[in-house]
């Protein structure tokens, strides 16, 4: 097991190296440079050249890549031009906010999705199944940012039950109930689509398992239906549900970008969008590398979890 984990970790290194090259190339090759973005209307060639020199962007591209990579290996991600602070401080702070949002949404969609799938499968073609299928279809079909805006209009502007945006109240906030109030709408909006997908796939995974012989045997032996479903069937179905969760985690993380903008959640997705518009090279590069590293690690964790559940997978 340990050697399997190590092997997977080692194989992540070329992936991450590839990501650094891709993100560096994209940011260097897209038109527009940071000096033009900073100077705006005042971007004369002379001013641009001087500012680029001040920002250290006058060196050749290859040299800049290796300087960046070298610094990063020593833990120095550089300074953001547009925020005037170290990239690592900004990214970690923002990533924390994204993890709270995406983590809550992911927990919600996993629990609700699997539960809905199990109920659907256990009551195939029954009322519960039809009701769940209907709700799930809506969840999958409505874009999350639209759902988010509608929720703001209803619950924040009209009913005034919940705050419109942000992570904490500007005045007198900062405690857990305050965070929950701010988190409710974005987390639900973000979880909606993934819940639907997980519910549908869990349902079919469960149905497949429920048709197998060992379930019939269990029922024949008089095992209570609840234990058949939750114990025997769900455990077997989890083998095909867990990889779906892994993929959905990626979708939740990338969907967080829209939700963070709609709800002004101070997360890493909103940071990256702002940084790209401002051509804040180091912030984009650093942010993408850190997010990608987390995603790769999460996928390794999913694979390991799966191999623990399913002895057929070679480690």
């Amino acid at each position: 097991m340990v050697s399997y984990i190590l092997k997977r970790l080692l194989s992540a290194i070329p992936v991450l190296l590839g990501i650094t090259i891709i993100v560096f190339l994209i940011m260097s090759l897209i038109p527009g440079d940071p000096a033009t973005a900073i100077l705006g209307s005042y971007a004369t060639p002379e001013n641009v050249e001087k500012l680029n020199r001040d920002l250290g962007l006058d060196k050749p591209m290859v040299q800049r890549y290796f300087i960046w990579l070298g610094n990063m290996l020593t833990g120095d991600f550089g300074r953001s031009f547009s925020l005037n602070r170290p990239v690592i401080d900004e990214v970690l702070e923002r990533f924390n906010a994204t993890l709270i949002l995406a983590g809550t949404a992911f927990t919600l969609c996993s629990l609700l999705g699997i539960l809905a799938g199990v109920v659907s499968a256990a009551r195939q073609y029954g009322f519960a199944d039809k009701a769940i299928t209907f709700v799930v279809l809506i969840g999958i079909s409505v874009p999350s940012f639209f759902l988010g805006m509608m929720m703001i209009l209803l619950f924040a502007v009209n009913l005034r039950w919940l705050p419109v945006s942000g992570m904490f109240a500007i005045y007198g906030g900062g405690d857990l109930p305050d965070l929950i109030r701010h988190l409710t709408m974005p987390a639900l909006a973000l979880a909606a689509v993934a819940t639907g997908v997980i519910a549908r796939l869990s349902r079919s995974a469960m149905l497949e398992v429920l048709r197998q012989d060992f379930i019939r045997t269990a029922r024949a032996k008089g095992v209570p239906e609840r234990r058949v479903i939750m114990g025997h069937a769900l455990r077997a179905a989890m083998v095909s549900i867990i990889p779906i969760l892994g993929i959905q985690a990626g979708f939740v993380l990338s969907g967080a970008v829209y939700i963070e903008i709609v709800f002004q959640w101070p997360g890493v997705g909103r940071m990256l969008v702002d940084a790209i518009l401002k051509r804040d090279l180091l912030l984009v590069q650093g942010g993408v590398v850190i997010v990608a590293a987390c995603y790769v690690l999460f996928n390794i964790a999913v694979d390991v979890a799966q191999s623990l559940l399913d002895p057929r997978i070679k480690t």
């Binding site: 209307s41 004369t44 001013n47 502007v157 419109v164 942000g166 609840r226």
Partner: protein, 525 residues
């Protein structure tokens, strides 16, 4: 025990939890405290170091924390004393001697004196200054004419310029000229932008990244104390969310309301403020080659475009029709006698026929957004349709803002016939000097991307820049505007009116023509 009853029970539990969560939130949420003004900003500031920033968004915070030697008189773009009480200008216009205000100190207790002024300008301009590395200072060229800053005595400071430069006083009133505390720069170095210290009516309290910048009343302020205990600037980058926050009561004041959202603030609980500013939205025409090399076609474009329709329908009345290159907000330098080109497609057709350019093909650069560009895509489409109607075939090429600047600033030659552009400036000198002189063609480092050249305009602009008498400068600018309007190097389209919405708990709020946001006198109940 069946599965269904188990689910029912858990449903009850979930409903119970939802009720508790609902109870937590209580009813009327988002009641902001009295005495604390919450401002919805359009973005997170880059830095709170006035020498390091370029965005109006950041200036809105800065002018409440810092002051400069001069400032704009309320409601105008004319300069009046601030931290300097008076000044003398030498006869040749190259020496400015300022007497400083007595008894002023920075929020950290550092006295404000001539040494502090010298520190500020040397930090920006002298590359060997020990704190020059706290930059970069992208707008330091505003003071590019300053050769040296000298301390005459504790309360007197003298600037020596390398040539007469009339906009100097108004550049001092611009945020780039705001005075920072030397001791705070020395203490914080590169982090000064996150720990700002000035002399203004508010002092910096806290900056929570991506949430808020909080400033509190400066009780030791030399002038009249601020009307609120604190102001909180919240960055809300999404315009729809900003509008929702305003409607829900989460913010008290919102700037840059999208034209299409203004209708939502019609009720009694909101007040909309509007103020024309030093902004002009225009089309650069390529006067070097192609159809627009002919003055008649440039004039025809000015006649053909229905500017009334653009400002009223596309921009929903948030702008007025521009008459010439200088916005009317520069009241002292504006030529009142100038009328905008009327909308007259017949005249345009006649001019085009006279020049033999019927059916000419034009390439038009349009941007997707950008500072001061208002609603560039719908505006560009309306312009395309108007030109099409008089027989000019316009092909639009759309670019993202930074890419757009990278295409337009180096000049339109060989690429395009026309391009959208907008400027916000602080002095009537800036825009024409940088974008209409023949000495400002792109290859000479300027922004005259359409290659307009008129020796008389060059002469007037140089003369206006070196004359230190305001009446004399005004006369020169007025003459320049008449010539430029006639020559039509641009299509003059719109002057933007900045807007803001406040709720009924905010009193005494007004916008300034400088586009800066002075909150000292505002009261929040």
């Amino acid at each position: 025990m069946t599965l269904l009853s188990w689910t029912r029970r858990s449903l009850m539990a979930a409903a119970g939890a939802a009720l508790v969560a609902g109870g937590l939130s209580g009813a009327a949420y988002a009641q902001t405290p009295p005495g604390v003004l919450i401002v919805g900003q359009i973005a997170e500031p880059k830095s709170l170091d006035p020498a390091a920033v370029t965005a109006v968004n950041d200036f809105r915070i800065l002018v409440n924390v810092y002051e400069g030697l001069t400032r704009y008189k309320s409601g105008t773009l004319e300069v009046e004393p601030s931290l300097a009480t008076s000044w003398d200008i030498s006869d040749d216009g190259t020496e400015y001697t300022f007497t400083l205000r007595d008894g002023v100190s920075f929020h950290d207790g550092t006295p404000f004196d001539a040494e502090a002024v010298k520190f500020n300008f040397d930090r920006m301009l002298d590359e060997s200054h020990p704190y020059h590395d706290t930059g970069p200072f992208p707008l330091s060229f505003f003071f590019g004419a300053v050769e040296s800053t000298d301390v005459v005595d504790a309360m007197t400071v003298k600037f020596t310029l390398n040539a007469p430069y009339a906009p100097f006083l108004s550049n001092l009133a611009y945020p780039t000229g705001l005075m920072v505390s030397p001791a705070a720069v020395a203490a914080n170095g590169k982090e000064f932008g996150r720990n700002p210290v000035g002399t203004g009516p508010f002092k910096f309290a806290e900056w929570r990244s991506n949430e808020a910048v909080v400033v509190e009343r400066n009780d030791g302020y030399w002038g009249e104390a601020a009307g609120t205990e604190a102001v909180v600037f919240r960055p809300i980058t999404d315009a729809n969310t900003r509008v929702a926050e305003m409607l829900a009561g989460g913010i008290d004041l919102m700037v840059e309301v999208p034209p299409t959202s203004l209708g939502q603030f019609g009720g009694d609980e909101f007040a909309v403020a509007e103020q024309a500013g030093p902004h002009v939205w225009f089309l650069i025409l390529n006067a070097k080659e192609g159809p627009f090399a002919d003055k008649r076609i440039r004039q025809a474009a000015n006649y053909a475009i229905n500017k009334e329709a653009i400002v009223n329908d596309v921009l929903e009345g948030t702008a007025t029709v521009a008459a010439g290159p200088t916005p009317p907000a520069f009241a002292w330098a504006y030529n009142e006698a100038l009328d905008p080109y009327p909308y007259d497609p017949e005249k345009a057709k006649a001019l085009i026929a006279e020049a033999g350019m019927e059916g000419a093909d034009l390439t038009f650069y349009v941007t997707e957004g950008g500072s001061g560009m208002l609603d560039p895509v719908p505006m560009g489409t309306a312009i395309q349709a108007d030109l099409q109607a008089v027989g000019l075939n316009v092909k639009i090429e759309t670019y993202e803002w930074n890419t757009f600047l990278g295409e337009v600033n180096p000049g339109l030659e060989g690429k395009a016939d026309m391009a959208e552009m907008a400027w916000m400036t602080n002095d009537p000198d800036t825009l024409p000097y940088l974008a209409l002189r023949s000495g400002a063609w792109p290859d000479k480092g300027g922004f005259n991307s359409g290659y307009y050249a008129n020796p008389k305009v060059d002469e007037l602009l140089e003369a206006a820049r070196t004359a230190t008498d305001q009446a004399e400068r005004a006369e020169l600018y007025r003459e320049m505007q008449t010539i430029v309007q006639e020559d039509a190097p641009w299509v003059f389209v719109a002057n933007w009116k900045q807007n803001a919405v406040t709720n009924d708990r905010v009193e005494n709020f007004g916008l300034e023509p400088s586009f800066l946001l002075h909150l000292q006198g505002v009261v929040k109940n």
